[in-house]
């Protein structure tokens, strides 16, 4: 019992400290300002959208939330653990009765809290902004599907925020294993590939659709299939196309997405712990 309590105390202390440290980073505020500007300026594109203002504003807003959220995760997360190792500040932490796993978890939750808080702030701004536009009759020729504030829209914003559970886990993992630059690149590439997974899977099938597939085709098909399962399937969380039109997301889909995110993150964090454990500090 004391062990568990101490575990939670250590993790939470590191998490809170990571959060406070991250909040002081001024680059985040630049991202936030840019994100808010992009969301607000979506209406400008909406003016030339021939009666589909709200749809365009929603698309831009949701895309901005996802993109800026991952940029925050990449910029802060890529340097998360590596910086501590380089500056030797990690020793002061590990000198105490704090395990490497607790350190990794604490850093993870700290960064996750930071990214989720900032993305949630964007989400609140987006929701209020597009609701005002709808109420002000900005829909043009077509009514805003689902109304000003709809459950599907709220759910999809939650899922956008939730997908960072996986992205931040990957950022932490890469941060333990590589340099900040590579960590940033890998995290961002994982984000992009995460949205291409369905195409990766279908392409692996296409490799075998030739009249006489070669050994290379079979090998590449197998590699791509493995790759498909390794890459985080962010399409699981991407229900924007439906939510923008006010179409509901089923509870089953929603809960399965949450479960997938949690389990994938747990695996990645386990990998980060193993890497961290093997590092000579």
């Amino acid at each position: 019992m004391n062990t568990i309590r101490r575990f939670f105390d250590n993790v939470s202390a590191i998490a809170v400290n990571s959060f406070r440290e991250g909040v002081r980073d001024r680059i985040l505020y630049v991202f936030i300002v840019f994100a808010v500007a992009v969301i607000a300026l979506g209406k400008v594109i909406g003016w030339v959208s021939v009666g589909e203002d709200i749809k365009v504003v929603r698309d831009i807003g949701l895309a901005a939330m996802g993109l800026f959220g991952v940029m925050i995760a990449v910029f802060v997360g890529s340097n998360l653990i590596h910086k501590e190792i380089e500056q030797r500040t990690i020793y002061t932490v590990l000198a105490r009765p704090v395990g490497r796993g607790e350190f990794v978890l604490g850093r993870y939750f700290g960064l996750l809290g930071l990214v989720c808080t900032l993305t949630a702030a964007m989400a609140v701004f987006f929701t209020i902004y597009q609701a005002i536009l709808v109420w002000a009759g900005a829909s043009g020729l077509n009514e805003a599907e689902g109304g000003a504030i709809s459950l599907p829209l709220i759910r999809v914003q939650f899922l956008i925020v939730y997908q960072f559970v996986m992205i931040v886990a990957l950022a932490v993992f890469f941060s333990t294993a590589t340099t900040p630059v590579l960590s940033a690149v890998f995290t961002f590439v994982a984000y992009v590939l995460g949205h291409m997974v369905n195409w990766i899977y279908s392409f692996s099938d296409m490799m075998l659709e030739k009249r006489t597939p070669t050994f290379f085709d079979h090998f590449m098909s197998w590699v791509l299939k493995v790759f498909y399962y390794l890459v985080p399937n962010l399409e699981t969380f991407d229900m924007r196309l439906r939510a923008v039109h006010g179409l509901d997301i089923s509870n089953t889909e929603f809960l399965l997405a949450l479960l997938y995110g949690a389990s994938y993150s747990a695996m990645v964090l386990l990998g980060a712990y193993l890497v961290m454990n093997r590092r000579r500090l």
Partner: protein
Amino acid sequence: MIVLLGIAVLAQLGVVNERGDAGIKNPIYRKSADQVSRAEYVTSFGMYLPKGEFALSAARFLGGLQADAYWLKAAQYISKAFDDPALKTRFLGDLYIAMIDTDPYWSSAAVTAVNAISGVTTQNDQAIQVVDKALKARPEDWRLWYSAMALYLFWPGHKAEAIRFARMGARRPGASVALLDAANTLASEDGNYRLAVDIAKERLQKYGLNSMLGGIAWRDYLEHNSRYLQYQYQGAIDKFHKDKNRFPENLDELVSSGYITNGLAPEPYGLGWIYDSAKGTIISKGLGILDGARMAIIIQTMLHEYSGKYGHMPETLKVLFDNYRFPESEIDGIRYFGNPPKLVPHPVIGNWLYDPNKSPAIELPPDMTMKYIMGVGNKIRDELLMGTVPAFKKPGE
């Protein structure tokens, strides 16, 4: 991890090289004999769309923005004047198809796209692709069914599809009354009275007998059912005549000889069948009254035009029809499209009661007027609502 990523990137670069223009049909890069060059196109329109299936997939994290880009581009295309109109025709449909591929739930845009493609181009097959993809994603949206119906409606030789889409769309929640009304009109114009009866019954079930729309549907049901039965029985008489070289003495002989199965259905208006054994013709009395009343209205209008043109009423109706010309202006009255109308006897009473000195010049007996036959239909409807007569049956039952 680095090795795997490297392999993935190389594989996908290979996709770009191998599939390139053969990927997603990006209209800017499609090759054809009279295609303008890529450089010229980018310069002309200044909006650059990513090329190939790989690039489009890579932009999936942007969500619906891809579809928005296609939508905006299509708006540019519609408004832009092309030196070669064939280019507009070719690319507009492709843009909309790409748009609906990337966001199949965007049904309002799909509706606009269908109207734009069919209005600007003659590529109805592209419009069909757009609406088909949208319907797969959102079959509950009645506007898509309506768009498809409208598309087929103005596409020669596709009336059956228009009726089908209208009926299916009418079953969707919130569907406009125009769908079933359009299906009803199409079926009756086509002479498919059996189908028109089924559609009228759908309308009755949808609106309820005790409603304004239900009243209109009930009126149509009576008329279409009468025409359908009349057509069926006339066919049976013609077949009897062909087999036996004479007309049946009466309708019972037609039934007993097996040319009408399941017995003779009651005349829908309850006024009976009128059979002429000499000529071998059968009419529904109710339908005859209705058609006669309509003809009377047409003749009255023609008389009004004639008197306005010549300053006096024609001596006889034959003179009226012989001298009838299309109105010189729209102010003169109803325009008749197609062939000029012909003088036919009243379906029930035969000769028209025409007196040029009276007003109205065409006189109909009280039990031959539109008001009378409408009243008959309403009486049956009221009895149905009160449950004093059995509900309507299928034609022939």
